[in-house]
Subunit: 760 residues, 2 copies
Amino acid sequence: MKNIIKPFVVCLSLFLQTESHAQYHQFVDPLIGSEGLGNVFIGPSCPYGMIKPGPDNDLHANSGYSADIDKPIYGFSQVHVSGTGGGAKYGNVSVMPFSGDFASIKQESLRENEKVALGYYSTLLSKHNIQTEITTSDRAAFYRFQFGNNDKNAIKIDLGRYLDESIIPDGRESQQFVGSQVEVISDTEVRGYTKIRGGWNNGGAYTVYFTAIFDQPFSEFSTWKDQKFYPNQKNQVDEGKKTGAMLFFNGLKDKKVNMKIGISFISSLKAKLNVDNEIPHWNFEKELAETQQKWEDLLQRAEVDKDASVEKKTMFYTGLYHTMLMPVDRTGENPLWENNSPYYDDFYAIWDTYRSSSPLITLLNPSREVDIVNAMLQIYKRDGYLPDARSGNANGRTQGGSNAEVVIADAFVKGLEGINYKLALEAMMKDAMFPPGGNEEKEGRGGLVDYNRLGYVSTDYVRSGNRTIEYAYNDYCLAIVAKGIKRKGEYWRFIKQSDNWQNLWRDIEDNGSRGFIMPKDANGKWVDSIQCAATNGKINYVPYTPLAQDWPNCVCWWCGFFYEASSWEYSLSVPHDVAMLIQKSGGKEAFEKRLNTFFREEFYNVANEPSFLTPNLYHWIGRPDLSTDRIHTIIDENYDASRDGIPGNDDSGAMSSWLSFHMMGLYPNAGQSYYLINTPYFKETVIHQENGKDFTIKAKNLSTKNKYIQSATLNGNSFENAFIEHQDILNGGVLEFVMGAKPSKTWGTKQVPPSKSDKK
Amino acid sequence: MKNIIKPFVVCLSLFLQTESHAQYHQFVDPLIGSEGLGNVFIGPSCPYGMIKPGPDNDLHANSGYSADIDKPIYGFSQVHVSGTGGGAKYGNVSVMPFSGDFASIKQESLRENEKVALGYYSTLLSKHNIQTEITTSDRAAFYRFQFGNNDKNAIKIDLGRYLDESIIPDGRESQQFVGSQVEVISDTEVRGYTKIRGGWNNGGAYTVYFTAIFDQPFSEFSTWKDQKFYPNQKNQVDEGKKTGAMLFFNGLKDKKVNMKIGISFISSLKAKLNVDNEIPHWNFEKELAETQQKWEDLLQRAEVDKDASVEKKTMFYTGLYHTMLMPVDRTGENPLWENNSPYYDDFYAIWDTYRSSSPLITLLNPSREVDIVNAMLQIYKRDGYLPDARSGNANGRTQGGSNAEVVIADAFVKGLEGINYKLALEAMMKDAMFPPGGNEEKEGRGGLVDYNRLGYVSTDYVRSGNRTIEYAYNDYCLAIVAKGIKRKGEYWRFIKQSDNWQNLWRDIEDNGSRGFIMPKDANGKWVDSIQCAATNGKINYVPYTPLAQDWPNCVCWWCGFFYEASSWEYSLSVPHDVAMLIQKSGGKEAFEKRLNTFFREEFYNVANEPSFLTPNLYHWIGRPDLSTDRIHTIIDENYDASRDGIPGNDDSGAMSSWLSFHMMGLYPNAGQSYYLINTPYFKETVIHQENGKDFTIKAKNLSTKNKYIQSATLNGNSFENAFIEHQDILNGGVLEFVMGAKPSKTWGTKQVPPSKSDKK
């Protein structure tokens, strides 16, 4: 089986060869999160890469990929997302090499010897005896097919395949076929497109154009349309039917065929230009090395202790990697407006990523975050609203707040330059003042009429609990930007509104703690019970408690009082005014008890974002040691470097960025200018910033035993707070902790992190 | 000048030749409405034709065309609309033959010997000595270029030209460039596209793809991008820049070149398929004859008195022609969703066309109207809302009501089959219950929160006067459909709401008449004066009276209390309850006086739609003779067969359909099942219906003197009413009037047409 072994030799030597100059990318394992709930994309991708070529073996898997070795691969498609939940999106322009039965459009094979590394994927399609290797640039992918000992082989380009195809017309969250076209240009070039609508965000039609170029001429070809083959017919015109092309390679037993495939959202010619610009050669190894280097340039910006365990380094750098897979850079590729300004797509969803992903990009790659925010403002300008989620060039859906406002405030308070904050405020005001109408889950703020009239979203609207609490924080973020650009009227209006969470704060007790965000109707009356499913013809009412999850049993998944969480979780989510939250919960002692109950009784949900900040809330009662205890327990019990190493959907890297931040000992309160400090996992982390200044975090004597910060210095001066300003990091320097086995009674206990009500 | 004269000979013989079998299309003069305000499209078009190729000599003219002979033609573009106002739309894929200076992208020429007929356009571009003739099929155009005595000639395909280009980014109502691409496929074939956004409806980007095929090979070519020429470079990829191609024809002095150009909104291959399917030959005359025949099949459905004057027949048949230019049939050409159901675009605007255009199509071409309504329902299903206006695949803008509801009700009460009225009701309910949000002028009902809470739209919203009054009628239409499909709950809710116009009825006097629709604020207080422009630093308040036009002097064009009209006009616009309007105006006598004042004092605006029904309101006081007097005066003073023969923007044929209906002696009250009867302009009109039954309207003894209906019979039986049910027409038969010189004291005086309040 010479033909199978050979590519592996090449491939392994490749890895050995690149290791010498590749310090960090080798610690990235794209398979972390590929089993369990992670749903990560495992194929090769550049940072924020538009093309994400990879194997599809599960039509309903969010990344197209199931780790299940018994699920045959049916193609390698060019567009994917990473870590998402709900209905799948993309999976377009499916390429499949095959042999044997040439009469069937459907082709599949089990896989063997799968190999996954940063920028690289390979597997043997055992049924066809064809080895497939993939690497990629930003907008074009490089495939290397090693045919086996069959004399005739073929490559299929299938424009009728895509993820989550549903036979239900307009099936919610599923994708629907709109049209496709294929054109054989020469015996080495094929172009065309596939047009799909729907998917998780229920977006409008998007078109993925492609041009595929081969280094060997195909001997013959057949195109198809609507299941019927047309041998040697060059074109299949888009008439709303599924089309594709079979390219036959005769006499290439044991030979290689290379294919470069570019994609574009503009045109097939643009797709070809993307190939020509990005991969003007036929050297697979060179392309792989370039992609590795792109990552290397980013990953090396956080240089952790060389002596740390490979597992910890793998967890950390894979975390950074996952964070930088999305949103994707499609600058020049927006089909709907002039394309000379940055354009990013696949914000999926900002509800997930505003908390730690955006801040992590701001820390390590601020110029990129400037582009991302500018892209969001372009989206506002052109489509009318900022996105909360967005995919396939269409806004949608909103799970709760209009959290682009947090991303903008985070950029503003961290001093990102090159953003038109006046335009940004206008965009935020649109969210806050104009009901999105029609489809209230597409963008903006659903239930806004209530919110602006009553000060809360009433039970007339779904998700009224988390909408209210999120809008209050969004208002805070809006106010901060307004204040910063001297718009006092807006500041006062929205800083007042940011207290609106209190309008749903009900002074009831549950499991020993007081005060919860609870449902209220439009007349201001608390709602005690909710209608649930009818049993034997009788409608049931069930009490609505702080632990109740009305969804999905009583109402639909998106129709509960809170989105994907309970009141226990959301009632602790007031990032701008933890001091007031503590006061309303009965003071510091009661609050500590409340947090303890929350974690001990497992009311905390490690697999979802609403509680991302909660383990850090001990900081506000002067107990950063307890925050660290919780965080390290959460990480140690739920995260590792295995395929099942991410506890929930990675959500475009949200879970991963949460992990990477905590491993460095920092955690952002997104929208605010500081980071909370916890015990890091590394003795040293050097952040090489884009401004040229290094910021080092050192933990002297750190060990499993010495896990508590006793004291700290910043550039040699005593540093008593368990939080640090972004500006202090920007200035460069060294933050050094002295570690010890017992919690410190002094460090981080006096000055707690800021709260809105401090300022009164 | 043999080369110039020759095409005219061909052309004239062509007209003579077709006259024998062409009874009606020769009475169509596409130039009626080409001067003055009409803004009609003068180029060739099939009925509801997707392609509308024609000359552009005015960048800001709505149809691209100015009759001004001193304005040079700069190209012939493939997409136009007819009769619109406001910012222009389309003007895409500009083709220009030229000679002489080959170094410049800009090419233009004055025109001579322009000839315009149904399906045909020709002119001599005098500067270049090139004769251009155009005819067309539905989706492909046929150009015949006769070169003069220059040895070298060229044809330019310019993808960077379009109407109403503005240097202001995002200029309201103007079009903006998004991208373009060109590809020379062979020496006889060029393809590409142009992508533009904006225009009057401020719509998103639309793409017009094309393929142009020549019957002579071009000798050489040069493509360009961003003003720079690339000789012999086949492709110019879309990178957001303007592109195009110059095709040089050498040695064709005094020769002809034929070009077929197909367009598509899907792809260039689809555009080519459109050419291949529709014009599989190179015979210009054959194509012209086919287009004439398509019109002939429609026009002959209303067969008027053969002895009528050519002018009257020309006015009438041109009216039918204008009515059937839009909306355009783009079935299979919607780029955003599956295309197996009817798709129509360029509803421009339903606010204009619901009153008489849709009913005229329903009368003469009901199967077409079924498709149009089904297309509207598809738009609702896919885009979320019915259109009120729509162009370039995007809804927008609403001037007042959600008048698709009137179109649906009109279809329903006239028994159109093959429409899912359950889905239609759902679509109407969406308008009536869900604020469109964000951009409240795109679709749905702006100010709906007010309307549903207060029963009127308050002065917090612009256009609150006509919005309120139109929504009330829309609600009536909704109620009628709800009742018809046994949805009693909805019926009762909306029939009650249809009285909402009364909430803005203020009992004040103006010019001797009582009661007007007047502005009211959100607290229920009448608004007496409005803020107007500041003079010398002082804000002026001006009284708001029933004759006031706050727009465009005090506020923007779209920001007044009424859209494009005064309270005198709109206060008479209650099509569902004229009886109540009469009562509120002080009874029959007061109402007659009011109508007389309205017309005598010229408060009536012949150039706009809000008063389309008003001259007929005398019917409701039992005086159809007075209606006829008004209508005939309006027509005789404002309409004729000249180029300036339409008094206002034709609005996709709205003005024209109003005229054609009245010339037959019928006028619909759109959304209701009857036609008002007036004195026709023809002694006989036979309507050959699609159901196979003829309906004949005869006016015995009709003359200038004998202009009043004395009595009538329907199929020989006495017919006393001045209105007739649609069903009576469907049944076929003869409606015969006996005419006389004096108004009848009896006919049409007893039973007046229906009103909502009759039913109480």
